[in-house]
Symmetry: C2
Subunit: 95 residues, 2 copies
């Protein structure tokens, strides 16, 4: 069982990430990514999907044409954990 | 400029599709697909993405683990058009 980040750990982790914001009324974080077009957006999604599957930790996400919105949280911990921070860093490396 | 379906055309088209429901307060339709796991869900999304790009008509969609929710509407017509029905039929062919 993976532990939720403490409030301090969470604040520190969010401060170290660029573009990720806390989600209202939920222990989760979200970031919206804009691309040139759908092809670029889906290419990014494919890279994220492969990384997520590899770490067995999956995003909640949506796509409309060139916009991708990703929300991260850890289901089994019911909140943000180290896994979300690690996945966010990997995702940020793709843009 | 592609024309919105008339109310009759829309009702007929929706009646001929399985699993697609009108969206509340919007001229759009939505269907939720469930798969065995994330790999299956994303494999489906990849097929949909390629088909959408080919017809230059893109879905609004979201994914959480093994669930994919797709909403179709035509931006430039501000509502459902023949393109949405065509894309829905292609998508349904993937499941």
């Amino acid at each position: 069982m993976i532990a939720r980040l403490t409030a301090n750990e969470r604040d520190e982790a969010l401060a170290a990430l660029v573009g990720w914001a806390p989600v209202k009324d939920r222990d989760a974080m979200t970031r919206t990514f804009m691309f040139a077009d759908f092809k670029e957006a889906f290419a990014f999604m494919t890279r994220v999907a492969l990384a997520a599957e590899k770490m067995d930790h999956h995003p909640e996400w949506s796509n409309i044409y060139k916009t991708v919105t990703i929300t991260l949280s850890t289901h089994e911990a019911n909140g943000l954990t180290r896994r979300d921070i690690d996945l966010a860093k990997i995702i940020d490396g793709f843009v």
